[in-house]
């Protein structure tokens, strides 16, 4: 965790898509926050099974959507838009709750740090 941080709380490295390498965030543009959040699995469900998801705790917080280099937003589900890779659409890599216009969260576990 330490090596991912600069100034104690900012992302020291470039945040990229795990699958296609698309740049999501440039260094020093997001702040580490601890928050418990369940996100659906990134893997495709196989017939008849529930792919489930993970409860994640470490997120990069971004306060303006234009801070992202590249990111996609899904349609709204229960007041939430999931964040996906803009180039290959894998996700969710994070989420945005419409009730808080200045909070966009990217899960550390679901992205690469380069």
């Amino acid at each position: 965790m330490e090596e991912l941080l600069s100034d104690g709380e900012k992302n020291a490295k470039t945040v990229t898509c795990q699958r296609c390498g698309s740049v999501v965030l440039k260094p020093n543009n997001a702040t580490l926050v601890k928050k418990e959040k369940f996100l659906p699995s990134m893997r495709k469900k196989t017939e008849g099974t529930d792919a489930g998801g993970d409860t994640l705790q470490d997120f990069w917080l971004v306060t303006d959507m234009y801070t992202f280099e590249n990111v996609g937003f899904t349609n709204t589900v229960e007041n939430i838009k999931f964040l996906i890779c803009a180039d290959c659409e894998i996700g969710p890599i994070g989420w945005h709750d419409l009730s808080d216009k200045q909070a966009f969260y990217v899960a550390l576990e679901r992205v690469e740090h380069k």
């Binding site: 303006d64 990111v71 996609g72 937003f73 349609n75």
Partner: protein
């Protein structure tokens, strides 16, 4: 936001269902991979960063995501857009014939007079061709649009299309502003309508 970003722009992708609008936004398409979340919930819009002539622009790109099937798109979809990509499928005469209606809807709802338009003849990788390249070019010229033939499958032309569109927007005075775009998900009109009209078309293929 980075200090070196020149502007943020709202770009729309419109056209009939099935012409390949959504796939224009993918950097590569992989048939063996079908992103579950995007397929089930649907993609609303994307933020993409593009550098044109050394100018860095952040684009909010909106795709109709199938809403066009239900006719018509809401006025808010068009509001504040600086650029539009109108797509037809070169293997579908019908998708080409519908272009006039799309343009008239755009003219009804767009809030910026100088909105930069690009016509994209998509799916040129297909063997079947119902719309000749010259027809596309002629239509684009008549309506003062940029023109390109493309294939999302081969990525031919797609990157060029976005770059060309952004370049043209940046060259159009009054269409964009460096600091007055509202922040957040709801992109609203900044209220400036330029009167300068710049006509032209170009071909990239």
């Amino acid at each position: 936001m980075d200090d070196d970003v020149l502007t943020t722009l709202k770009i729309l992708i419109i056209g009939e269902s099935g012409v390949g609008k959504s796939s224009l936004l993918l950097r590569f398409t992989d048939d063996t991979f079908d992103p579950e979340i995007a397929a089930t919930i649907g993609v609303d819009f994307k933020v993409k960063t593009l550098t044109v002539d050394g100018n860095k622009a952040k684009l909010a790109i909106w795709d109709t995501a199938g809403q066009e099937r239900f006719r018509t798109l809401t006025p808010s979809y068009y509001r504040g857009a600086q650029g539009v990509i109108l797509v037809y499928d070169v293997s579908s005469r019908n998708s080409f014939n519908r272009l006039e209606q799309w343009l008239s809807e755009l003219e009804t709802f767009s809030t910026k007079q100088d909105i930069v338009k690009m016509l994209v003849g998509n799916k040129i990788d297909k063997d079947k061709k119902e719309v000749d390249r010259n027809e596309g070019l002629k239509f684009a010229r008549k309506h003062q649009m940029l023109f390109i033939e493309a294939s999302a499958k081969t990525r031919e032309g797609v990157q060029c299309a976005f770059e060309e569109l952004v370049e043209k927007i940046i060259q159009t005075p009054g269409l964009w502003e460096s600091d007055s775009q509202p922040k957040g998900v709801s992109l609203t009109d900044t209220g400036s309508a330029a009167v300068n009209s710049c006509a032209g078309y170009c071909s990239l293929v």
